[in-house]
Symmetry: C2
Amino acid sequence: MADPRPELKELLLHTAARLFRTRGYAAVSLRTIAAGAGVTTGSLYYYFNHKDQIVKEILDTGHKQVHAEVKRCVSALGPRATRAEKVVVGVRAHLAALFEMDSYPAANVRIFAHVPAAIRRAVRPGRRAYEEYWIDLLASRKGANRVDPRQLTMFLFGATNWTLEWYREKRDSLDAIANNLAVVILGEDATTLARTEEKFERAVASAPG
Amino acid sequence: MADPRPELKELLLHTAARLFRTRGYAAVSLRTIAAGAGVTTGSLYYYFNHKDQIVKEILDTGHKQVHAEVKRCVSALGPRATRAEKVVVGVRAHLAALFEMDSYPAANVRIFAHVPAAIRRAVRPGRRAYEEYWIDLLASRKGANRVDPRQLTMFLFGATNWTLEWYREKRDSLDAIANNLAVVILGEDATTLARTEEKFERAVASAPG
DNA sequence: GGAGATAGATAACGAGTGTTATGTTATACC
DNA sequence: GGTATAACATAACACTCGTTATCTATCTCC
């Protein structure tokens, strides 16, 4: 009675991510994960050598998913997009990764601090790459920034990820949250800033070599 | 060999808070807490009926500590203080509660989502009271706010609490972080805003009844 | 139509868990 | 100066944990 199901590994990871997100890392046992996926405990060890390996893959996937989704949405704006447009769309994509995709990014936010230090070190390059993407985006305007781009990025990450603690679908809109947060981060009205920067970009583009 | 030490309950709570903050809720056993305080496991049950009661007191104390510290520092500014001054000092006090006081507020931020739902419900009034304090503070300027004060407060909480994930004493300054975050939240340069509002407040104060 | 290889299931190991029942010692009081 | 109480310590209970060793059924290939 093998009844082999395809993609069981992905099902196990997805189940584990959802449980980690809601209950925390240590509170979720391998038996709970296996039962949630409809298999027995020993079967986990056909795909993973240790519990740590499960959480490592979840954290890595979380970084990759949110990074890819944000980059995809921002790039889709085209090369003429303003920084304000990029920030609004980027924040919205980050929120989508937290609430509308798999649980990997949300689980990442919730349990990162509590996994073994060796796992944190192992997945840190992926986290750093995503941070650098935003630092570059927020520092893209030449000249004086109001605050250090790295700190500004950390403020943005904190405000965005903290939505996991208070966002309720019934009451709030992810679109409105993204717009409001972009307004705060950019320091002025987003649409006004967008028009201003667009004008500036056109002027630059139409100027000779 | 009783060797009765005073205030053992506080020592146990402090030890537990520090462990919860770094390792998470479920990963910390009662034996680890007891050993950290230099006593044996059974002694815990002289002061607490269940593990849940320990974490409940820690979460409640965390809310009370950060609320009291912020209110104390902001109130010390006096009744003539501007909103900008209050925000800077309030954020600095919140950061002090996270990094320079006991571990209760930091443990609260780290484990709140992972404690049993009944505990979360039980301590929610204290959390709501602190939230309302900031919502009132950020909405204090009459007329048009840029964004909804509740969402603005959530952004502020997220950015502030997220410092637990990236702040390093060697590299960053809590004073600078508080100033920069206030600049972002208030939407303009803090000192400029302070002077503007101070002027406004004086005008209001000197105006007849 | 055997032979591996694949994809699991079963059962057990030692260690650790929250919790309880009971023992022990110092101190305060009359 | 005995006694009650406060403040712990000791030891055990039933359970769960991550992990491993071993077994079984299905599929592929020649």
